[in-house]
């Protein structure tokens, strides 16, 4: 029996690794290409590992483009929209989790339904409103929009986390004589923080990669990395090595964050329907 199980494990392991590497391959290939010279990048047959490793593409992207500015824009927009969103979502989720009323369920579902509103349905008015308000091509405009589009997800995620904090613990704290402020500091915050952290993480990722509003509402200077890469394609599309370096620079921070948050991802994106 042990032998059969052992052999199965080896077969499954081999198969899983082959398939996983296949799925991961485009990223791996981009990473490798980013270290090649432009000539090696388009060589046929392709060079996999044996080429002259160089960092010149990164240097060039760094010097010749506004990578840093777009990186800063991405950070400001994703972090800004998420933090403001959390400031609005935490009290709302809190209220619904701990003082539920008969309409709580309806409110939650309604909030979710706003997330399903297709962006194109409101593209025209948002564009015109932004134009009038001078928000077009501004970071604050994008912060606002991304905060609004992710707000339902934040409320939902936080709600599912908060609901798991047992009411009896809060009641115990009240019996033990904790004032509301102390209850918050000693009991609520430590228990709610993990949920808030994973909500923050997932929504930063979503905002970082959002590429409908970021492409439609910004031009060159205020665009985040999504727009940077999109504009990169036009003049430099055929410079594969440089494109790869720029791509790696655009996705690396968030892919790493994603690895850290993959456990919470499922629950966040399914609104708690799958845990």
């Amino acid at each position: 029996m042990a032998g059969r199980h052992g052999r199965n494990k080896l077969v499954f392991t081999a198969l899983a690794w082959v398939l996983a590497l296949l799925v991961f391959f485009p990223l791996l290939w981009t990473l490798l290409t980013s270290f090649k010279t432009e000539g090696e990048a388009v060589a046929i047959p392709p060079k996999f590992l044996f080429f002259d490793w160089t960092l010149e593409n990164y240097a060039e992207v760094w010097e010749r483009t506004d990578y840093l500015r777009h990186l800063r824009n991405s950070i400001i927009i994703s972090l800004g929209s998420t933090l403001i969103g959390l400031a609005v979502a935490i009290p709302a989720a809190w209220a619904m989790a701990f003082s539920p009323t008969r309409s709580t369920r309806t409110v939650l579902l309604w909030m979710l339904s706003t997330r399903m509103l297709p962006a194109v349905g409101v593209l025209v008015p948002v564009y015109l409103l932004f134009k009038q308000a001078g928000l077009l091509d501004s970071r604050s405009g994008l912060v606002l929009i991304l905060m609004l589009t992710n707000l339902p997800i934040m409320v939902w995620m936080l709600y599912t986390y908060f609901r798991e904090i047992p009411r009896e613990i809060l009641e115990a704290a009240r019996m033990d004589g904790a004032t509301p402020l102390r209850e918050l500091a000693y009991v609520l915050a430590p228990m709610a923080l993990p949920g808030i952290a994973s909500t923050l993480l997932l929504n930063v990722i979503l905002a970082w990669n959002e590429s409908f509003w970021t492409l439609n509402l910004t031009a060159a200077s205020t665009g985040p990395l999504t727009a940077f890469i999109a504009s990169f394609s036009a003049p430099e599309g055929l410079f594969y090595a440089r494109l790869s370096a720029a791509s790696m620079l655009a996705i690396a921070p968030i892919v790493v964050l994603g690895w850290l948050s993959q456990k919470q991802l499922v629950r966040g994106l399914t609104f708690g329907a799958v845990k």
């Binding site: 494990k9 799925v23 290409t33 619904m96 439609n216 996705i251």
Partner: protein, 290 residues
């Protein structure tokens, strides 16, 4: 005392979120509807007069609309088919005891975190390019003619690019669901004499029904509004061969500056999405015992 007090506090805490979302939903939607019944051209300031259903008639009878509708459904359907089928397979595999599962998981989940513009450009240039792309080289190795993917099969190419990005999502959710399957259920079935196949059919598959439905509906919401991938690869072309509804509305509005008919298109997209949203709410709502 305390509960009445706390109920008022709760309402106060909830109101900013509700007000923001209400405004976010109501104001632009109302404007979309208003524009959709008016002749409104950004570049030609005419009277913006009321034109009734004319914009809808114009948008809906445009051959591009039918094309876009079919393309939208084909994109959604194609990506769903690939991600769900491959996702179930991968999830079943990753649920087995394997060496290095943590790393395998990380590899599989990575594409989900890649921004659409990057994944589209990487695929377009480094894989699907008819001269320098890896796929062209592979075809050549196998003695087949190279394909200009994005020109000859633009929709299929888009399906592949988008499916690559969403496969991790399906896999991860289905894997999570598999891991929550009670081992005793499978053992009970084993005691009842069910073989591996029967166990899969009668225990595992029914258990996956709900998460699969969740995957389908959530992906549909996102897939209905695929945009960036089209913008940086085919620009909707050749012709309108890879134009979906989102891209059509975008080009009406921001390329042709026809606010009226773009709004009519937006309203149509909202109606279509609402039908799907209703389905999702039922599904997710059932899980909520608020």
């Amino acid at each position: 005392m305390s509960s009445i007090h706390s109920r008022a506090t709760a309402r106060l805490a909830l109101s900013p979120a509700v007000i923001l979302l209400l405004a976010w939903m109501a104001i632009p939607l109302a404007m979309t509807l208003w524009y959709s019944f008016h002749d409104y051209q950004l570049l030609i300031p005419r009277g913006n007069e009321f034109v009734g259903w004319e914009n809808y008639a114009y948008f809906l009878t445009d051959p591009a609309f039918l094309h876009a509708l079919v393309n939208t459904l084909a994109l959604v359907g194609g990506v769903l088919l690939i991600t769900v089928a491959a996702g179930i397979g991968l999830a079943l595999l990753l649920d087995q005891p394997i060496y290095g599962r943590g790393i395998v998981r990380v590899l599989v989940v990575s594409p989900f975190f890649v921004m659409p513009t990057v994944s589209a450009l990487v695929w377009k240039n480094m894989f699907m390019n008819p001269v320098n792309g890896l796929l062209a080289w592979l075809a050549q190795l196998l003695g087949m003619p190279a394909i200009d993917w994005l020109a000859q099969a633009p929709l299929l190419s888009l399906v592949i690019i988008v499916a690559w990005g969403w496969l991790p999502f399906a896999t991860l959710i289905l894997l999570t669901a598999l891991q929550s399957l009670d081992a005793e259920q499978k053992e009970a079935a084993q005691m009842d004499g069910a073989g591996a196949l029967a166990r899969f059919r009668h225990i595992t598959l029914p258990h996956l029904a709900r998460p699969t439905a969740v995957v389908i509906l959530i992906q549909t919401i996102f897939l209905l509004s695929i945009f960036a991938e089209i913008l940086v690869t085919t620009n909707g072309g050749p012709g309108t061969q890879s134009t979906n509804l989102a891209f059509l509305v975008y080009s009406q509005a921001l390329l042709r500056f026809d606010v009226g008919s773009a709004s009519a298109g937006g309203a149509v997209a909202v109606v279509l999405a609402n039908i799907l949203a209703l389905l999702l709410m039922r599904l997710v709502g059932r899980n909520l015992d608020a």
